[in-house]
Every structure is written in structure tokens, then in C-alpha cells.
């Protein structure tokens, strides 16, 4: 059972690998064209991602968030829905974590995480219900809901009622009150910002893998994704399954928001344009829509993102990471681009075997 999004790829794994390699190649050429040293640039990229506990910690915290938003998109894929709304779900999750995390108590951390999952889940449930009940296409509704969340939270709640600043008009960047120390995601290694979020994200990825591939519910979700009507005819309540999956999808994105707030920001900042929700789409697509693939893609793009901060040493803006990511998605989106390449590879692999037998017969 594979989704419409991945039917075009005869071999999703190799298409993804080829796309990522091609994206790196394109960005290598782009750096060279702009008159900078691409080898030094990639060296800085690698050292910013991997050299020592500090960079590895950065890679880990960015990967954790990308894995969660990627899983969010991937879970929605399984029921055949395209969740472009991870960004909005992440925002509500982050806000819920920031609000609940302000109450100092021994359970502040789990309570904040739960609040984030519920808030994100509720925001994800809306497009699911709209799709099932009113036939509203989820791509449109999630895009709209993203902007509703962005404006309501950033333009009103965090700037007004929940703002730490009082009075003066210029403090709209202040954000909310800081959260209690008990709600922080604990740091694991000295000299690195690696926190509990990373192992949690990996555990969640494993749980999602188990849910999707080893449980009845996961099977039913995949059946709905493969064909809602056929699933419905065989007794699966497809509408309810779609809503459940969208709620889980939103909850995962909400947790990603909580990781950002509880792990690094420690309050809901006045300016919080992460883009991680949109990156989740890239991670899930490159990961082939599976839990394991998404985790691997999340690790990779997390490393690229962490490394990109050191690209500045080569005079390259960190947004270069987004370029690599975007090109990889463009190429993954159209696996047929690689068809000629596959054909040639297959032919050259088959040739020795095919060519060998005739040779003896040529001898007179």
C-alpha cells in the first residue's frame, strides 16, 4: 500500500539518495559560481554539524524538531492527507508549552509536553474534520489555518494578553514570561546544548513506526490512505481514522513546538518564525513517508541546518540550508527525472551478463 505521493518513485530510497546528492552537487556549483571556495564552504558545513560535542548538540536539537515535524507530515500521508499545517500546529504547541511551563511544579515538564500535544492535536483535528464532514481540501484548510495561527498568536496573544511587557508600545518583541526551570528539557552533556528532546524524538519515531506498521490501527490508517472507499467498504470507519491521524499529526507538530520552547527558548519569544513546520514537509518527502526514513532525513537536514550556521565563516548566509533542502524536495517530487539514469545503470549492470555468452559463439 503506497500513497499517491510516492507511486511515481519506483525505488523511493534510491530516488531520495540521488535527490540529496544532486542537491548537494547543485549547491556546490552555486557556491563556486558566486566566487567562493566550495570545498571550504562544505568543510565549514561539516564542522558546524559534526566537530565536537557543541556542534553535535546543535545537530541533535535541530534534528529532534525536524524529526517531529517530519513525522507529523508523514502520519498525515499515511491516511492520504497532505498536512501543510505543521507550522500552525507547532505554533500552538509552543504557546501551550510556554503557558503551562510557567507554573512551577515537579510535573511541569510532562504537563507542558502534554499541553503542547493537545493544543497541536486540536489544531490538526480541524482540517481532518473539515475534510471528512465538509469535503474541504486539507491543503487549502491547513494553509489557511497556518496563517490564522501565525496572526492570532504573534499579532495578538503574545503581543497583547500573554505579553511579559506592560505599557510601552515598543516591547512587542519581548514575548511571554519565562517558563519555570522545572519545565526545561534537561541538558544531557556539559559543553553542548543537547537536551532530552533528541532521545525523546527518536523514541517517538520508533513508537510511530510501531503504530503504523505493527498495530491494527496503523494498518487501518494505511488502508484508508490507499483507498478510503475500499477501506470504508471493508468496515473501517474511514472518516474517524482520518480525524485520528490528523490529530496525531498535529500533536507531533505541537510537540516540536514544545521542544523549541522548553529546550532552547525558555519562553514564547515575540518573534518566532521557525519555518520548521514547512521543513517537516521536506523531511517527510525525502524520507519517503515512512517513520524510519523520516528519522534519517531529519538527522540529515538537522545536520545541514546546524552546519549552515558556520557557512557564514565562508561568507555564505545560513539560509543556504533551505536552498539545499528545497532542491532536494524538487528532485524527490519528480523521481522520473532520474528514470533515464536508472535505465542506464540497469543496462550497464545487465550488460556483462548479457554480453558474456555470445562471445564464445563468435569463435569459428
Amino acid at each position: 500500500m503506497r500513497n499517491r505521493l510516492f507511486t511515481a518513485a519506483r525505488d523511493p530510497l534510491w530516488s531520495a539518495v540521488a535527490a540529496v546528492l544532486a542537491a548537494l552537487l547543485v549547491s556546490f556549483v552555486a557556491i563556486a559560481l558566486s566566487g567562493r571556495d566550495p570545498l571550504a564552504g562544505f568543510g565549514n558545513l561539516a564542522s558546524g554539524a559534526l566537530a565536537g560535542p557543541g556542534p553535535l548538540g546543535e545537530t541533535a536539537i535541530k534534528s529532534a524538531v525536524l524529526i517531529l515535524t517530519g513525522l507529523s507530515v508523514a502520519v498525515a500521508f499515511t491516511v492520504g492527507l497532505f498536512n501543510i499545517g505543521a507550522e500552525g500546529q507547532l505554533i500552538w504547541g509552543g504557546l501551550a508549552a510556554a503557558v503551562v511551563g510557567r507554573f512551577d511544579n515537579p510535573l511541569a515538564l510532562p504537563l507542558s509536553l502534554a499541553a503542547a500535544a493537545i493544543a497541536g492535536g486540536a489544531w490538526g483535528f480541524i482540517p481532518g474534520a473539515l475534510k471528512v464532514r465538509r469535503g474541504v481540501h486539507e491543503v487549502i484548510s491547513t494553509i489557511l489555518l497556518n496563517w490564522v495561527a501565525i496572526h492570532l498568536v504573534h499579532g495578538w496573544l503574545v503581543a497583547g494578553p500573554l505579553s511579559a511587557a506592560t505599557g510601552s508600545a515598543s516591547i512587542s518583541v519581548a514575548g511571554t514570561e519565562p517558563i519555570a526551570h522545572a519545565a526545561w528539557l534537561p541538558r544531557l552533556i556539559p559543553g553542548s546544548r543537547l537536551d532530552l528532546g533528541f532521545p525523546l524524538a527518536l523514541a517517538i519515531a520508533a513508537a510511530v513506526w510501531f503504530l503504523l506498521t505493527r498495530t491494527r490501527r496503523g494498518f487501518e490508517w494505511r488502508a484508508v490512505g490507499a483507498g478510503a472507499e475500499a477501506a470504508h467498504a471493508s468496515g473501517i470507519p474511514s472518516g474517524r481514522r482520518v480525524c485520528e491521524a490528523m490529530a496525531l499529526s498535529g500533536a507531533l507538530a505541537g510537540l516540536a513546538g514544545a521542544f523549541l520552547i522548553l529546550g532552547t527558548e525558555h519562553k514564547y519569544p515575540g518573534v518566532f518564525r521557525t519555518g520548521y513546520g514547512f521543513d517537516g514537509i521536506a523531511v517527510a518527502l525525502v524520507g519517503g513517508g515512512t517513520a524510519a526514513g523520516t528519522a534519517i532525513a531529519g538527522l540529515f537536514f538537522g545536520a545541514v541546518r546546524a552546519g549552515a550556521t558556520r557557512l557564514q565563516l565562508s561568507g555564505i548566509h545560513p539560509s543556504f540550508a533551505e536552498l539545499i533542502q528545497g532542491i532536494a524536495v524538487l528532485l524527490v517530487a519528480a523521481p522520473r527525472i532520474f528514470l533515464p539514469l536508472w535505465k542506464r545503470l540497469r543496462r550497464s549492470a545487465a550488460e556483462p551478463a548479457a554480453a558474456a555468452p555470445p562471445i564464445p559463439t563468435v569463435q569459428p
Binding site: 511515481a8 558566486s34 489557511l144 496563517w147 504573534h154 548566509h317 539560509s319 533551505e322 524536495v329 522520473r336
Partner: protein, 289 residues
């Protein structure tokens, strides 16, 4: 009123671009990215040539070029149209910031560019374009043979093909046209309104244009009307936020969210039969290949 005529054109043009592409059966999530390319290319073109008009042309071409990528991926290589549009937005985000920094040495804003001239009412030509182009587009789509063909490939491409319409090339032209309109919309933001490129452009206007397409029920006049309405809501919000600031309510966000909430409500409640073109987003495989 003046403010509406100033801020509506980018939204109107991009929304018309969305209508053109979607009526031909190609979903265009990439409007945001196309506007971004258009805004940057227009500023760059205007700065290097010294002419805002040349900048406008560059913006249209950049929009078309990015639309060509969307057309190539989704039509030639049968990529999912939504994925291809999303990818285009991601690329636009990274690539334009990269170009901005490589060309102008700043990741924030470009240097000031020449601006489009304003008439004695304070409007640029784009304000008038935003009023006239929707009408022309409406007549073209509903009253001409070419417009009929576009609607046919969006509703029932197979039937159109049996009548001799070449579906994929026509769809490709519509996507390119969509890119031209979105690119012009983006160009209006930089060389029309602000007089420079800002790295945050178009700040969600492409998505708002998408909402206008849906709110306007995939018709040129409806989408343009919705775009004007959204721009009016935005202008109202700007005016009100001054007086509301005093009360420290900070309700800007509520007003900014309003167009999206309204569009959602229209969709959810099905006010006045909202229906996308039948073959919107459905890839077309020609027979006999």
C-alpha cells in the same frame, strides 16, 4: 481608499495568476515563491538598469522562470502538483536570500531601487492594472475560444483532448502565465510600493492570494474582488490598530487573521456552492504513450 489601491495590486495580480493556473487544472501552491522571485528580480533589475519599468519586466520574467520549473516538474515529470509548489516555495526562500546576500552583500534588504512613477492621485500604473486586468481576464476566460479551451482542460482534459486541444502544452502556458502575473505582483511589492527588496517579501501574500482564489470561487472577478476585500481589511486593520494601541488591546493579529477565517468559513459552510475546477490537481497522462 487610496491605501487599498496601493496595497491591493500585488494580491490581485497573484490571485489572478492562481485562477489562471487552477482553471487549467494545475494547483499552484507556489504563488508565494513566484512572488518572491518576482520581487527580488524586479528590485535587482531596476537597480542595475536604473529603470523601474525594466525591473517590472525582470519581475515578470523571473515569475515565469520559476513557474517553468513548476510546469516542468508537474506536467513533464508528473510530480505531485502540491509537492512541486511547496518545493518551489522552499527554494525561493533559500535561493533569494542567498542571491540577496551574494548580489547586494546584505541578507536583510536591498539598496533602494528606482520606483514606478506615481500620477497626480498618487497611484502607480499597477493600481490601474489591478482594476483593468481582472476585467480583461474575465472576458478572455469566459468569452473567447482560448478561454474556453483553458476551462475545458481544467474541467475535463480527456474530452478537450478528443476535440484536438493539446492538454499539456496549454496547461504549461497557463502555468507560465500564472508565473508572469505572480511575478508582476511581487514586482509591485518591491519597485511599486516599498522602493527596495526586503528579505521577508512577500510575507504570506502569495498564500493570501491563494485564499482569495478560493474565496472568489476560482473566477477572475471573484478572486480580484476577494483580493480587494482582503486589502481593505488590511487597510482597516492598519487604521484601527492606531486607536487600539492606546487601549493596549493589540488586536492587529485578530484583524490579520480575519481574511483566512472568513475563507475557511466560506469553505466549511459551503456558502454559495464553492467548487474547484473538476480536474484541478489531477495529473494528465496523454493516451498512446
Amino acid at each position: 481608499m487610496n491605501e487599498i489601491l496601493d496595497f491591493a495590486p500585488p494580491l490581485v495580480l497573484a490571485a489572478l495568476g492562481g485562477v489562471l493556473s487552477e482553471r487549467a487544472g494545475v494547483v499552484n501552491i507556489g504563488l508565494e515563491g513566484m512572488m518572491r522571485f518576482g520581487a527580488f528580480a524586479a528590485a535587482a533589475g531596476a537597480i542595475y538598469s536604473g529603470s523601474a519599468w525594466f525591473g517590472l519586466l525582470c519581475g515578470a520574467l523571473a515569475g515565469a522562470a520559476s513557474a517553468a520549473v513548476h510546469a516542468l516538474l508537474s506536467l513533464r515529470f508528473r510530480a505531485d502538483q502540491v509537492v512541486s509548489g511547496v518545493a518551489l516555495n522552499l527554494v525561493a526562500l533559500g535561493l533569494v536570500t542567498y542571491l540577496l546576500q551574494s548580489v547586494f552583500g546584505s541578507a536583510g534588504v536591498s539598496p533602494p531601487s528606482p520606483s514606478l512613477p506615481r500620477d497626480r492621485f498618487g497611484h502607480t500604473a499597477m493600481a490601474y492594472a489591478a482594476l483593468i486586468v481582472p476585467l480583461i481576464f474575465y472576458f478572455w476566460l469566459s468569452r473567447t475560444a482560448a478561454g474556453l479551451r483553458v476551462r475545458a482542460v481544467g474541467e475535463h482534459p480527456r474530452a478537450a483532448a478528443t476535440l484536438g486541444v493539446r492538454v499539456l502544452p496549454l496547461r504549461a502556458w497557463c502555468v507560465l502565465g500564472s508565473g508572469v502575473l505572480a511575478g508582476l505582483g511581487g514586482a509591485t511589492l518591491s519597485v511599486g510600493i516599498l522602493g527596495q527588496f526586503d528579505s521577508r517579501m512577500p510575507a504570506g501574500q502569495g498564500f493570501m492570494a491563494l485564499a482569495a482564489v478560493v474565496f472568489g470561487k476560482w473566477t477572475p472577478l471573484g478572486a480580484a474582488g476577494a483580493a480587494f476585500f482582503f486589502a481593505a481589511a488590511d487597510a482597516l486593520q492598519r487604521q484601527l490598530s492606531f486607536s487600539l494601541h492606546a487601549a493596549d488591546l493589540r488586536l492587529e493579529g485578530v484583524f490579520l487573521a480575519l481574511p483566512y477565517v472568513l475563507t475557511l468559513l466560506v469553505l466549511a459552510l459551503g456558502i454559495g456552492r464553492t467548487r474547484a475546477p473538476a480536474a484541478d490537481g489531477v495529473p494528465y497522462e496523454p493516451e498512446g504513450r
